[in-house]
């Protein structure tokens, strides 16, 4: 095996799901010890191709070569045995268990003295496993708390666990599907440092991402997918974000659209007064004495490192009933008190006021994954005319509205029948956005609205949010993307440890100044 043999080679891979040709003709050569980025629009077939390499799907046609040898696997465990590991777009960890248990599950080892027992009965060598994990963690700089339940750890740490899991299984080829979608800028930076270390040790990394800046920062080589085919394959050196963007989308993308001046600020659509929330487990209050408002016709952006109270704020806004006992302060929404003293509105009543929600976690909070797109579009619109008629659902009305919406929002494939779980991540997000704007909300809560969507779609979603503003809606934008916050927000609030530590008007803040406040810099 020479150094010139690619670590991975895909030749003419094809995969079809029902009517959707997810991969049509995928060719890919990945040099050993390199970081290879795969980019492409939502639904271009990136995840599908990687899942075939990882043995989750079986190709309809084409060839997979690993270190020069043609391979085909019946299941991921065979791919894992061949040294291939994958971290999925949506993590697959068991929340209540700690890192060691999560990593070792499925790859348990036992001490040699138990060898005479049948495999399933051998006691697990927990100390040995842990020692090996600690050594690996040190070697690659993947520090973490091995004892805490993983659901209590930050996403960045959970991701390190996923990566360590691959290393523990001796993976030499690591596939990361949109690893940075959920990370903060700092966590992303740390991840990249780790990836470089891995490559220096001879590992090969395939990374899917929508963030072109990151491609420029880390990749050695870039492959561009479009509609199930490879449309570009170039070394990173000598390309640019703009070039990559237009290769992906097939047209020029306006990455830095200057928004029109804000319309007149209207009445407050959201008014939060001295809001505090006590922690359920004791310790620090996740929200401390927040006061701010959002007016009609403006976008208020909340910046902050994830885990500084933004999630709790969103929960309080939308489910005040569940938190009434632990909270103090008042929230008024569209002129109605939704949390004030003992009174708290039900979520349904809040939504009925004219509130749209793009939720943080689209799988858990936004979709019926096993139901068709049609029903997912209907969800939340189902109580209003013309979709509801005297207690019955008017399928005709839903169908025509949904068909129009997926056309307008470019949800691919253009099918109302596919299950939402079968859509690619970015298309799921576009479906939710289509649905929530269909309500013509007077107040929109947008949490991480462009997480996992491609550059073309980001542009579109941003335009859509700005249009809502122009039509007089107030928007509360919660995002860990500083670019997004800076581009959209008329006012920016920075949250740190449950407080607002800085406020800026449009144009006053820079990425640097936000970054300092987000880290609590000027606060201590």
């Amino acid at each position: 095996m020479t150094n010139e043999t690619p670590a991975v080679e895909l030749r003419g891979l094809q995969k079809r799901f029902g009517k959707v040709q997810a991969n049509e003709d995928i060719h890919l050569r990945v040099r050993r010890g390199s970081i290879h980025a795969i980019i492409g629009e939502n639904g271009a077939g990136k995840s599908t191709a990687m899942k075939m390499l990882y043995g989750m799907y079986r190709p309809d046609a084409g060839e997979i070569r690993v270190h020069g040898e043609q391979r085909s696997w019946a299941s991921p465990s065979e791919a894992i045995a061949a040294g291939i590991g994958m971290v999925h777009q949506h993590f697959m960890l068991a929340g209540p268990y700690n890192a060691v248990e999560n990593i070792v599950a499925g790859a348990e080892t036992s001490e040699p003295r138990w060898r005479w027992l049948p495999r399933a009965f051998r006691p697990v060598d927990a100390t040995g496993a842990r020692a090996r994990l600690e050594k690996l963690a040190r070697q690659y700089g993947l520090e973490m708390n091995f004892d805490a339940p993983v659901e209590e750890l930050a996403v960045g740490v959970q991701q390190r666990i996923e990566i360590l899991k691959l290393l523990y299984r001796d993976a030499s080829i690591l596939i990361l599907d949109e690893p940075t979608a959920v990370l903060t800028p700092q966590e992303t930076e740390e991840l990249f440092v780790n990836l470089r270390k891995l490559c220096a040790e001879g590992k090969t990394v395939l990374i899917i991402t929508h963030k072109l800046k990151e491609v420029m920062a880390i990749a050695d080589h870039v492959t561009v997918f479009r509609a199930g085919k490879v449309v570009g394959d170039i070394p990173r050196a000598g390309t640019s974000v703009e070039e990559l963007a237009s290769m992906m989308v097939g047209r020029k993308v306006n990455l830095t659209a200057a928004p029109p001046p804000p319309p007149e600020r209207g009445e407050a659509v959201l008014d939060v007064r001295e809001l505090s929330l006590a922690s359920s487990v004791g310790g620090k209050h996740p929200i401390q004495n927040l006061s701010f408002d959002v007016r009609a016709g403006e976008i208020v952006g909340i910046a902050g490192v994830e885990g500084n109270g933004q999630s709790q704020l969103l929960q309080l806004l939308l489910h005040p009933r569940a938190y009434r006992k632990r909270s103090r302060g008042e929230i008024h929404c569209l002129g109605q008190p939704i949390l004030a003293g003992k009174a708290a509105l039900a979520t349904a009543a809040i939504k009925a006021l004219g509130v749209g929600v793009i939720p943080e976690d689209r799988h858990r909070e936004g979709l019926l994954l096993e139901r068709p797109v049609l029903e997912n579009f209907l969800l939340g619109l189902h109580q209003r005319a013309p979709f509801a008629r005297r207690g019955f659902v008017s399928l005709k009305a839903v169908r025509s509205a949904a068909a129009r919406a997926i056309e307008e929002y470019d949800v691919r494939p253009r099918s109302l029948e596919v299950a939402a779980g079968g859509l690619s991540g970015g298309n799921q997000q576009k479906l939710i956005i289509a649905r929530e704007f269909e309500r013509s909300p007077r107040f929109m809560v947008a949490a991480q609205p462009t997480r996992g969507v491609d550059v073309g779609a980001i542009e579109f979603i941003h335009q859509r949010i700005l249009r809502a503003r122009a039509e007089g809606a107030g928007v509360l934008l919660v995002s860990s993307e500083l670019d997004e916050i800076l581009a959209l927000s008329d006012r920016i609030l920075v949250m740190y440890e449950g407080r607002i530590v800085a406020r800026f008007n449009r144009g006053e803040a820079t990425e640097q100044s936000l970054g300092i406040h987000m880290g609590g810099g000027s606060h201590s």
Partner: protein, 350 residues
Amino acid sequence: MKVAAKGGWLPLLQPILAVAAGLAAGLAVAGLAGESPWHVLKILARSAFGSPYDLGMSLFYATPLIFTGLAVALPLKAGLFNIGAEGQLTLGALAAAAVGALFPAVPWPWAPLLAGLAAFAAGAFWGFIPGWLRVRRGSHEVINTIMLNFIAAGLASWVTLYLLKNPASQNPETRDLGAGYAIAKLHVFGDAPVSSALFLALLAAAAVWVFLWKTVAGFEVRAVGENDVAARKAGIRDGRARILVMVLAGGLAGLVGIGEVLGNAGRFRLGFSPDFGFIGIAVALLARGRPEGVVAAGLLFGALHKGSADLDLETENVTRDLSLILQALVILSVSADGLWDWLKKRRTAP
């Protein structure tokens, strides 16, 4: 293969094959017990379908099973497990009988309507309790419905033996209904007590189907069952949806009382149900929670119930309990999802 991918015949074929496999396995068990499987099958078939009377009896047993199957299947759609159909049907039947005994002078057709409403309401109330407890108190419906089954049984004994005791009978039964309460028997089936309640059961299944797939409330129920967090965020009052299905389910189970009290006995007889409520769980599972499937599964289990009745008499080595084994094996083979996926994969693999 294209048809299979679109799902044309496959979803139908699967349960049919599964039922056949389950039955075959059950007959093999009979073989192990020293009885010729062929002989057992013949007895089963003859006893279930051999004459209009036999067929009528099969349908008579199928009627309550369709109701209880629906009573389990509907809450399943909202992610709730209703083990309480037995208690709900007991109270439903008791309520129908009580109305008939207390107001004997009501004329037809108001009388059966009144009794039917009472049956529905009593069952619905018995379904409301665990629904409410689950939503407002967070206590699990499985435990509560089981407990309510016991309470319903106790309540029925007390009412039957102390309040409405039939003075003319040695058996634990309530007083007779007024004459206006009887509903039409289906005379084509000879003396079999199958009544127009069968049509009501079919109607109920159709209504449940319409509810689930055509109404706004049904959509909310399915959304809650699929993903309650997302449903709540979408403005659905998930608690209300849960209580609603439990109320409807209880009511459906309560309607068992119509066939039994109005169509058959003319009074409430303690212990009339050979665990229709529990067999309903099997029916709903076999039907995979679908109303149209409940009808098919209810008919199948009704026939099994009737068919196995003659096993005691006509065979040496097996008793009617074989029907339990058959039911169990049918359910096992239907719910062997993994097996089916595996078979499908093998067929579609290149």
